[in-house]
């Protein structure tokens, strides 16, 4: 429930359908809205669904742009809105993510890629090397965190620990266990 209107409770589902129908375009911000995210993780106790699934089930034709991330980077949201307002809807990938921000993998651009190529893998945190064996999901994760970084470029996940793949449609269930190698 997200509130009441004239004494009747309004669910998130009602609000999504109601507003989605009238919108020129819908921006699904965050991994929950884009792909289901954590509430939709097994066994999905509340039957959570992404915006695209709700639109499809209700015959809503409004275009959807997904800006995933858990949390999503503020630049991804502001950038997508600015693009939409000035140039129209941005080019998107097969998961409707703006290619501008989600165009290539963390791994292919990673500053630690040279370690991967040399076969030098970190076995514990703080060790120099590629983070793959610690569980890093960089090879299957499409985002520009390697370049954009977080919190005014103070840090980012892979430098600090590992990528857990938070922008991907199969985050959580197929990315788990997060701290085991599941890719590469």
């Amino acid at each position: 429930m997200v509130g009441e209107r004239q004494g009747h409770e309004i669910s998130m589902l009602d609000a999504t359908i109601d507003m989605g129908k009238k919108a020129a375009a819908t921006l699904a911000f965050g991994t929950c809205a884009s792909f289901g995210g954590i509430p939709a993780a097994k066994p999905n106790p509340t039957g959570a669904k992404p915006v695209t699934a709700i639109f499809e089930e209700n015959g809503i034709k409004t275009p959807v742009v997904n800006v995933p991330g858990c949390p999503p980077h503020p630049d991804w949201m502001v950038g997508t809105i600015a693009y939409a307002l000035t140039k129209g809807l941005p080019p998107v990938d097969e998961y409707r993510r703006p290619s501008l921000f989600f165009g290539s993998t963390i791994h292919d651009n990673c500053p630690y890629l040279k370690y991967y190529e040399e076969g030098k893998f970190a076995r514990s945190y703080g060790e120099e090397g590629c983070r793959l064996k610690l569980g890093c999901k960089g090879p299957e994760t499409y985002a520009d965190c390697w370049q954009r970084q977080w919190n005014n470029k103070v840090n980012w996940c892979v430098r600090n620990a590992i990528c857990i793949g938070c922008v991907q449609p199969n985050f959580w269930d197929e990315m788990a266990p997060l701290y085991e190698q599941t890719t590469g």
Binding site: M1, I38, P45, P71, V154, W156, C157, A161, W172, L178
Partner: protein, 241 residues
């Protein structure tokens, strides 16, 4: 005849709360509270790799994610019978402490205070309930002026969290057995420089404003008190135990 009062949503909180009360002859005769954004975290946690818990539980709330990470990793330490090294213990405390600094600022200025401080008559300050606004215009303006400054402090506080937590909100830097980072000299000086500004704001702007506003609502300290006994456990680990 009992009168029913419904407040939904109660206020600006993560998780959405609804309160219904029945009032008869000036007294509450029945009351219901509803947490209306149930997601089922406990159910989702079942049958997963326990190490994933700190990443899952943090997603409960963007105001207090690190507290959940901290509780998860300390529980895992206990379950796996591991003791974090000093670096890990201290870094976890710093990451959690950084979150405390900005999340209290956020809670006050951007969530709680707007029930006492009348914001401007534009979005996002409206729509709002007809509040019990008691501050004189000048005092009210002082708090409103600090709203934007507090947002900058919140961003700076996130930078503190991110320095060894990886990013904020929701950190990567706490794991079972300790912390993931080895601080560099450059990071330590960057941290100190930012922390100085945050601490200065808390001591010289935030706390005086809390006391200033609190002074106008002294009677509320006596509303809704229960048995007045509270259990409080420290969350900052002081030594290897």
């Amino acid at each position: 005849m009992a009168k029913k009062i419904v407040i939904d949503p109660v206020t600006r909180i993560e998780g959405h709360l609804k309160i219904e009360v029945e009032v008869k002859d000036g007294k509450v005769v029945d009351a219901h509270s509803t947490g209306a954004l149930f997601r089922g975290f406990e159910i989702i946690l079942k049958d997963r790799d326990p190490r994933d818990a700190s990443q899952i539980t943090q997603r409960i709330c963007g105001v207090c994610p690190t507290s959940h990470a901290s509780a998860s990793v300390r529980t895992l330490d206990s379950a796996f019978k591991v003791k974090p090294p000093k670096n890990g213990r201290v870094l976890r405390n710093i990451i959690l402490g950084s979150d405390y600094a900005w999340d209290h600022v956020l809670h006050f200025y951007h969530l709680a205070a707007l029930d006492y401080v009348r914001g401007p008559g534009t979005e996002p300050f409206v729509p709002r309930y007809d509040g019990d606004y008691r501050l004189d215009e000048k005092t009210n303006q002082v708090a409103v002026n600090q709203y934007l400054e507090a947002l900058k402090i919140k961003a700076l506080g996130h930078e503190l969290t991110a320095m060894w937590g990886g990013k904020g909100p929701i950190v990567q830097g706490m794991v079972v057995g300790g912390a993931t980072a080895i601080p560099t000299r450059e990071e330590i000086s960057g941290y100190k420089e930012r922390a100085k500004k945050v601490i200065d704001f808390i001591a010289n702007t935030y706390l005086p404003t809390v006391y200033l506003i609190g002074g106008a609502y002294k009677d509320l300290f006596n509303v809704g008190t229960g048995c007045k006994n509270f259990l409080s456990y420290g969350v900052f680990c002081q030594g290897p135990s």
